[in-house]
Amino acid sequence: MLNRRNILQMGAAVPLAALTGEALTPRVSAGPVIGGKDFSPTTGKERQAIPSACWQCVTRCPSISYVEDGRLVKIEGQPKSIRTHGVMCAKGQGGVGQFSDPDRILHPMRRVGKRGEGKWKRISWDEALDEISGRMKKLRDEGTPEKFCFHYGRMKASHSKLIKSVFLATYGTGTIGNHTSICEGAKWTAQEMTWGGHYDNWDVDHTNYVLNFGSNVFEAHTNHIPVAHRLIARLSEKNIHMVTFDVRLSNTAAKSSEWVPIKPGTDRAVVLAMCNVVMSEDLYKGEGEEFLKFVKVTAGRSATVDEKIAALKAHLAEFTPEWAEGISGVSADKIREIAREVATNKPACIISYRGAVAHHHGADTERAVQMLASITGNIDNPGGRCKAVGASWKYPKGPKDKPKSRKLKILDGLKGAAKMPTHHVSHQVLKMIKDGSAGRPDIYMWYCYTPVYANGEVQENIDILKDEELIPFSVCVNPFYDESAALADIILPDTPYTERWGTEDMVSPAQIPEYYIRQPAVKPLGECRDFADVCIDLADRMGFPLGIKSHEEFVMQACEMTPTVKAAGGFEYMKANGVYHDPEAKPRFYSYMNIIKPEKYEKDGVVLDPDTGVYWDWKKAHVASEEEALAKGYTHTKKSYKAYIGQEIDGVVYSGFKPDKLNKSGYMELYSEIVEAHDLSAMPSWTPAPEHVAMKPDDLILTTYKVATQIHSRSANCKYLTEIYHDNPAWINPATAAERGITEGNTITVNSEFGEIKTTVRVTPAVVPGTIAIAHHCGHWEYGRYASGKNSPEGQPSPKAEKIWWTTHGMHPNWIIGTKADPISGQMRWMDTVVQVEKAMADA
């Protein structure tokens, strides 16, 4: 265990210069250190700085880990990053808690009691992987690899490539769940319907006006700090106007120029009414009208711009501001005022997120937002709503011979749950397993995900995961013992992100791609292993080596294979600097206007689809012949979007809005025949949530939100963060509270069709009447001492405790939120739950 070492050698290693003072730097500093360096406050020694990347939230900001005496002591932003400019949020800085959580799992574990009983035994990695690979291999050998269901929460860049595209693809299962439907799946589906490949970047650097529907960008968001710090600067330095529609006075709403309270789930009515104002008052003229050339608002593609204008006016005529006022509670005058502002303050950036889309027909809300941005000429322009730009890494592909993957049809929800779930309905995977009609996996493995806690209908999730008839064998890959890990058969101790490798590629709000990597700050504690490395090991054990030695090697190869990164100096450069962008690169805007060179569409195999005007390569779409391609047509050929070349408009072939997941044209499709074919409105329109229509006078709508110091489900084990935020009393408007005799601090019961919770109340005008708002993050009953108070003996959760002074842990709202899906996209309807709220008996 301890090896004798030559003390004299250690002494000899001390540079003589240091003893004589020759190594001292000049006393006069050029200026304050603004990042990239850190010093021990006790010894004054410079700490080891390791460029890396965050993983707390999906934004994955470039970071620097500081190590002192082999210990991760601090994380801060990477000042070289063009995405963050060195800014890092509290969650990112609090990430040191992922490393130092005293309740971390350090060894593989196997349950020895009943599932969920909490009785465990340490096992070796060999025991664990022999058992898992043995079971997996059996399924593969029997020709049923799909019975291995892999369900992840976050898996990006090299992790996704190595685990999903190499390991799982070579294994052969396509039963791979994600968690996009509990995030913002409705946005992505809507974007795929309209402008193709998903993700909208908001160019706040150049904007003069921001109109926000339900994004809490200053506290959360999938590109949180990269956008938020720019937006704050723009607001404070340029004094631009920002209007936020939200049911709650979030910190984003509070920092906006104006907060417009709105009834939950009614943003679309307001957006449609604004579109009505823009069209009826001819405010589209100028950029909006010019952009219509690239927009489809009618069936077919022969409409002139005038015909398009007429079609839009006709469609929007019924959605007047007065109509929207009756639905949303926002006055018609206010709707008109803001519609005029957003149409005339150019460029304007129209933004949206879960507050707007995590509803019934939430995808249609996003389509409406796309419409408003289009007719005001604010699409993919400086200062507008832009097509995302991110790093394009190249990766090793692993074994050439990969089987055709097989999958259980359990990923898209219960029958009739969603018509176009392009990002799946993974929050219903457990329900589908229970249902059994599409088969059940023999092995359910989850990674960086907590299916019990993160989804709605928690009790059902627990019941299903516990049931060995439904799930014969389960494996949790997790550094921490959360509510889901507690129900696993085997726990594999993953490394927290502070101890692993990875490439990263998140969208750049600068519209210039940024390449960055994650490096371990320290070697993995205990026996923790990066799951990507474990996959390589599993493949070896099953007899199909991936040809990759480690995740580190995979990252190294990616650095050498990616031309931009290789030119910068490859792996060594990235290890030293962490982040790279081409200093000569110009921000990318108006990408749809790029003209395709004739050699791209005049070559063999490429044909023009007369119905859509799309040039497509039928060979790439695996069609047998040109005749068949022309006969079938682009739209009706399976996955023809992958063969898209360009869009012909007025005799010119543009790159257009390249499709993804759907065989749409290269137009911005505000009118979608594909959507229409699913018995949905071809253009965005209004369909109320059925539960809201049926609400009784005393019913309220439950809405949820995130705070600035916690991520959704996986940060409450970080002490610094939970010390700041560990309780989530329900917000209720004073008028709503008074109707129920509720006062500040009361205990209340909140009932829905899925159950009842008890929680405390905060009476505040910062939430609209008729609504109750409960934050995520809290109410853990596992996840270690900081999160749950289910403490180890050394951490008594009492005021007398030295390290955990808080005694409340809040209430998890998901017990009473359904796993209902947006019938269009499959998005989980977080904000639609109808509840009854009463003062609890003890407080009555």
């Binding site: 250690m10 130092s100 035994k121 340490r122």
Partner: protein
């Protein structure tokens, strides 16, 4: 108790130090990982039964007539529940246990422990997965120091003997001695079987007197030795610890 006025034969001190080293080693093994059947079998050898009974530990009743494999299985679950989790457990790490300490894994206390190892000329092995301030690593360190002490007594290397004793004293007073009582008390409270409380009791009892014993040994460094029939006038080491227990 060692008689300071006695004139001790250093070979005897060397022998006692080896015994101490073995005791530390045994305790390190106990708290490092779950007991194997071989380990349990070894505990039941007549020689060890006598030794353990001498310090008040008798596993006869607890082990009963069950097989060592069954006992090992039960103790593996007990070990996991007590010291590993997942979930509620008694972290065997100084940084987590230390009163008014950081309370976190790999905290500043861990760095200080690692510094102590380095100052003594030791480094954590490359393949070691236990964190430096894990109880078993700290006990291993003391086992190695006492082994070194034994060699020093044998070699009559007074300077090195004094240094090694100082290292022991500093480590016990600066680290292990500061948190082991808290840890052992929790083990006694939380354990379902008698196995770990027994060894926790042994550890606590032994260490509680060790600081003073080190002082006494240090006072003997460089003093003339007495040979002959009278022999060394001392009881010291494992037996003495047992008596203190």
């Amino acid at each position: 108790m060692l008689e300071t006025k006695a004139i001790i034969h250093h070979d005897e001190l060397a022998k006692k130090a080896i015994e101490q080293s073995r005791l530390y080693g045994l305790l390190a093994t106990v708290f490092r990982r779950e007991p194997s059947t071989e380990f349990l079998c070894h505990l039941r050898t007549p020689e060890l039964i006598v030794a353990l009974t001498g310090v008040g530990i008798d596993f006869g009743k607890e082990f009963g007539t069950r097989t060592f494999a069954d006992i090992a299985d039960e103790l593996a679950i007990e070990y996991t529940r007590l010291f590993l989790g997942p979930g509620k457990h008694i972290s065997p790490h100084e940084s987590v246990q230390l009163k008014r300490g950081s309370g976190i894994l790999w905290g500043p206390e861990t760095s200080a422990v690692q510094q102590s190892y380095r100052a003594a000329g030791f480094e954590i092995g490359e393949g070691e997965t236990d964190i430096p301030d894990h109880l078993s690593v700290e006990l291993d360190f003391l086992s190695l120091l006492t082994k070194e002490e034994s060699q020093c007594w044998t070699n009559r290397d007074h300077e090195q003997t004094a240094r090694i004793l100082n290292l022991q004293r500093a480590f016990i007073s600066g680290h292990l001695g500061k948190w082991v009582a808290i840890f052992c008390t929790k083990v006694k409270e939380e354990a379902e079987f008698g196995f770990y409380p027994a060894f926790a009791g042994l550890l606590l009892s032994y260490l509680s007197g060790e600081k003073m014993e080190i002082g006494i040994r240090a006072s003997l460094v460089g003093r003339p030795e007495q040979n002959g029939a009278n022999g060394p006038d001392t009881t010291y080491g494992t037996e003495d610890s047992a008596r203190r227990a």
